[in-house]
Symmetry: C2
Subunit: 336 residues, 2 copies
């Protein structure tokens, strides 16, 4: 169990000073090609591995923090891919943690990340985040970008999808293309900003249409099972002409419940996020696509810019969602 090989060993072995050895590794100083070769060789034969931790004690670290509510939601997974790949491609490592959408967890993880001296923070705030979070981040003074969900009072850059627009697109399609006169919005946490904004978009579409459209809404968890429950409840009352769901999981649950009730195809269903399974479900799911991956990449880019002293590339970035029309909203009547 030989001792750890350190830069000093390398230097000694190559017959140079620590400084020179350090220079060739970081590429910082000017070193003659001859010495560089020699040092590189020594590194190889000694099996030296750089100690990022020790280095971080002097210079800025190369670790960033990423906080998400839960890794397993497909949409967040997409976002994570974008964030993580962009960071590691730039030589940064992502300390990813999930809050399970709970504020106390979030506070705890925030503290841990801070103790780990992360150089930047990308965060999808837990539902209900407010002043506390903003204060914590602010007093920390770490480069931060909010992702996908914004927080009132935050001055940090925000990268997300235009939720109002998304809600509008869905409702507008139901109203104008299918003459729906009653719409239900299903799912999402009551005070989630996404939910509020999308509902806003839905109302806007209703207003703009000039038609007499009634809107109801129910909150649920964002799971397939919750969607199924909601679907059965829907079936118990008067079926709305169309429903827009908070995400595709809910939408699939609703569709299945309605199918089980013998009501397949009797109302028009639109999901949100356009996950991969949406195209394969029966009926295939009309959905508002948000490209989470791109969101993640954009956020990471912005942070990288700030870290390296450049101006942030985005102050605020609202990606335009797209409505992907498939069978579930009734455009392809093949489904019975």
């Amino acid at each position: 169990m030989g001792r750890r090989v350190t830069l000093i060993d390398v230097a000694r072995h190559a017959g140079v000073s620590r400084t020179t050895a350090s220079y060739v590794i970081t590429g910082t100083g000017r070193v003659s090609t001859a010495t560089r070769e020699r040092v590189l060789a020594s590194i190889e034969t000694l099996g030296y591995v750089y100690n990022e931790g020790a280095a971080s004690l002097r210079r800025k670290g190369r670790t960033v923090g990423v906080i998400v509510p839960n890794i397993d939601r497909p949409f967040f997974g997409e976002v994570l891919i974008g964030v993580e790949s962009t960071f590691t491609d730039s030589g940064y490592m992502s300390l990813m943690v999930s809050t399970r959408d709970q504020l106390d967890q979030q506070a705890r993880l925030l503290r841990m990340l801070r103790e780990h001296q992360v150089a930047a923070l990308a965060i999808i705030p837990a539902t209900g985040s407010g002043e506390d979070l903003v204060d914590a981040i602010h007093s920390w003074e770490v480069p931060t970008v909010f992702l996908s969900r914004y927080v009132a009072g935050a001055t940090e850059p925000y990268v997300g999808s235009d939720e109002v627009r998304g809600g509008f697109l869905a409702a507008d399609h139901l109203i104008r293309a299918h003459e729906c006169r009653s719409i239900a919005y299903i799912g999402g946490p009551t005070f989630g900003v996404a939910r509020i904004d999308r509902l806003d978009g839905v109302r806007r579409a209703i207003a703009e249409s000039g038609a007499d459209v009634t809107l109801t809404d129910v909150t649920t968890e964002s799971t397939v099972a919750a969607g199924m429950r909601a679907g059965h409840e829907l079936a118990a009352g008067e079926l709305p002409d169309g429903v827009v769901c908070h995400n595709d999981s809910i939408a699939m649950g609703v569709a299945r419940a309605l199918y089980d009730e013998g009501l397949a195809g009797r109302t028009r269903i639109i999901g949100y996020d356009d996950v991969a399974a949406a195209q394969a479900s029966v009926p295939s799911l009309t959905s508002v696509a948000t490209n989470g991956r791109l969101l993640g990449e954009t956020a990471a880019q912005a942070l990288l810019a700030v870290i390296s002293g450049r101006e942030p590339t985005v102050r605020s970035n609202l990606a335009e969602p797209k409505l992907i029309v498939r069978e579930s909203c009734g455009d392809h009547p093949r489904v019975h």
Copy 2:
């Protein structure tokens, strides 16, 4: 922009030595309650935050590495939840990286994690991993556990699902409950161990049944789109009595393609992993459930044990998969 508050500041402010201050923070040494209070107060008023990085220079670090092929595959997402939550609950932070299932990426990330001095490594190896990976890990001498996919020649503990058993369960059900005489295995990377093992299980089921069952197999990517392509190809030839798919995404794609070909319900379909959407699809998907979350937790537990000097809790852990029977294999003929 005051200087960073350090332990020295705290000590000075509390009128004690660095050592004492450190003791109260780590809980290591014996400190009188009076002094502890005083130090704690100073920490509070000064706004001191612990520097994990500096500490790691002396003692073992509290960050672990987690390598996965891609975060967005629902099953891996499940596993990650298990790993991450177990680690953070024990005060460890997870450096999660994804290889995109590419060997060169994996090598690079492995090196980065090593430079970050992670205390342990949980890895779902990229497809095709072999000696190189094993050697790298071995020479590194870091506590490691392989997850979900094992690698030939690895001596490290392995936590995964019993793939042979899974393949057996699926095929056995098709043969014995539904008298299938031709079975197709669809999907997965050609040399992936999971694929090979499951096929093995399928063959075993065939052999045990004593029946004359033909088996074909095709490899595809593990996506919905690939599943749809495979489904259309299937439709072009003679439809097998039953198909078992490498995962649920593929299964949903196959089912949809068959539906589009007007062949819905004409062959029995079984998926793998039992993701949330499986229960909501139409027809609902029969699937082999593997509980990725538990796998992740088990792996993390094992690593935590090794890290803290205890014996590893598992040398090798093969979780028993379960067959969840739903409509897609024809048990609920309601589907037409």
